[in-house]
């Protein structure tokens, strides 16, 4: 039995240790948000976060995940509340057919967790391993920048509020 956390919950699988994480997520665990495009690391459709960093789940053996933590696209939203990235992809046309979208969201989420003020070059570097045949990428870059701006606005509001709170307290 291989045990690891998926989207916050401990899951178990009796899959062979060299089975691809991608297949374990999609078949026994039923998390079909993660897509298979190429199966050889080129397209990023299968991107998930493993211990917080983006990886291609088609190139990870599930046995390597023992005791680790996986976040898939299903684990991004808090219940019905979408993340700023998910909202921006909807509002700014970051998703068309949608096949690349789960991988894009995971790759972009990993970027925003380490850098909420990315340049367009940073954004393009972060999604260089995610192929999209529909959007021409510009709308995806715009969506990610819109989400980054939303995250920055929220944190600056929060820090202003806590500062104001601190002042009244003093």
């Amino acid at each position: 039995m291989i045990r690891f956390k998926v989207n916050g919950t401990v899951r178990e699988t009796d899959a062979p240790p060299m089975a691809r994480l991608l297949d374990v997520l999609r078949v026994p665990l039923g998390l079909t948000g993660t897509k298979e495009g190429c199966g050889e690391g080129e397209c990023g459709a299968c991107s998930v976060m493993l211990d917080g960093v983006p990886v291609n789940s088609c190139l990870v053996a599930v046995g390597q995940c023992e005791g680790r933590e996986v976040v898939t696209v299903e684990g991004l939203a808090h219940g019905a509340e979408l993340t700023p990235l998910q909202r921006a992809f909807i509002e700014d046309g970051g998703a068309q057919c949608g096949i690349c979208t789960p991988g894009m969201l995971v790759a972009a989420e990993a970027l925003l967790r380490r850098n909420t003020s990315p340049t367009d070059d940073d954004v393009r570097d972060a999604i260089a391993g995610n192929l999209c045949r529909c959007t021409g990428y510009q709308r995806i870059v715009d969506s990610i920048q819109a989400a980054a701006a939303a995250v920055r606005a929220k944190t600056s509001k929060a820090s202003k509020a806590s500062k104001a709170g601190g002042e009244t307290g003093a």
């Binding site: 699988t13 240790p17 060299m18 691809r20 690391g41 960093v53 190139l59 570097d125």
Partner: protein
């Protein structure tokens, strides 16, 4: 319903050692038991290979030794060798670590530039230096960069350890000195002196996810105008990553002014015979390699 594994891996056992010594012991035991065993790090070469392999050709593997839980292999440390500064990378150091480690960024920005050119982020977070070296692809990016930095690999087995300079590690196309039971524990590189001219140049079809047509790493150091060190690693122009020892011999001890392009080009002609393949032609590769070497040498 269960999930399948790539060709020949459905019945493979996996062992996840925590230390280098443990990994070596498992490898040695597998060897004694005549079990087909393989090391696995980021899987970005192994798993792709197995996935694309026709099932009837896939030799089943009995055992995979997963190295991703061995913390010693992901360490980056510093050491002083005869008054010179060296960085030591565990074999499991990833490209992503090179891109984010402050010491590496400050001491050898060339490694950051190289790592950024490998695949894309999802490959960089998994792919390791030892995996790149052991695969021994003539188109590897990590290898030429480490070679130009006078890389030396430390090979460890149950029986002990030995060190091999990277420019003596590759014997022929995808053949290396790595013996059964050995793993790459460390790669030691010399930090170029302040003021050194350090080059990384990868020429490919697109910036991300492209295999190089030619890649060149170079370290040129001078003392009062005389070239004291001219080290290279060049990829995709020969069966193995090439150190261009002839150019090194020609340049070291001379001023740049005393070198001429025709002589350097002739030295390169003697060393590499690039081939035509799906990515490029031999003639283009030779032309680009010569231009890159000259630019690396020039102040």
């Amino acid at each position: 319903m269960s999930a399948h594994a790539p060709a020949g891996l459905a019945r493979t056992e996996m062992v996840c050692p925590k230390t280098i010594a443990e990994a070596c012991a498992v490898l040695a035991q597998a060897h004694r038991d005549k079990r087909a065993a393989s090391l696995l790090a980021g899987g970005t070469d192994v798993i792709v290979d197995r996935h694309l392999m026709p099932i009837e050709k896939a030799r089943p593997l009995d055992l995979v030794v997963d190295l991703t839980g061995v913390d010693e292999l992901t360490a980056i440390s510093e050491r002083d060798v005869a008054g010179e500064r060296h960085l030591v990378f565990g074999g499991g150091v990833t490209y992503w670590q090179l891109r984010t480690d402050r010491r590496v960024l400050a001491a050898i920005p060339m490694l950051d530039a190289m790592a950024k050119d490998v695949g894309a982020v999802q490959i960089q977070t998994r792919g390791t230096l030892a995996g790149n070296i052991a695969t021994a692809s003539p188109a590897a990016d990590g290898v030429p960069a480490l070679m130009a930095l006078d890389g030396v690999v430390k090979l460890v087995s149950e029986g002990g350890a030995r060190t091999v300079p990277l420019d003596q590690f590759f014997l022929a196309y995808r053949k290396t000195v790595l013996a059964a039971g050995e793993l790459i524990a460390e790669i030691d590189v010399r930090v170029p002196l302040p003021g050194a001219r350090v080059t990384w140049r990868k020429v490919g079809t697109r910036l991300a996810q492209a295999i190089s047509k030619v890649a060149l790493a170079g370290v040129i150091e001078e003392e009062r105008g005389t070239i004291t060190r001219a080290r290279f690693g060049v990829a995709s122009v020969a069966a193995v990553t090439h150190p261009l020892g002839g150019v090194r011999a020609l340049a070291e001890g001379k001023t740049f002014k005393a070198l001429d392009r025709a002589t350097v080009d002739a030295a390169i002609d003697l060393e590499i015979k690039p081939i035509d393949d799906v990515r490029s032609t031999g003639a283009y590769r030779l032309h680009v390699a010569k231009a890159l070497v000259w630019r690396a040498l020039a102040p």
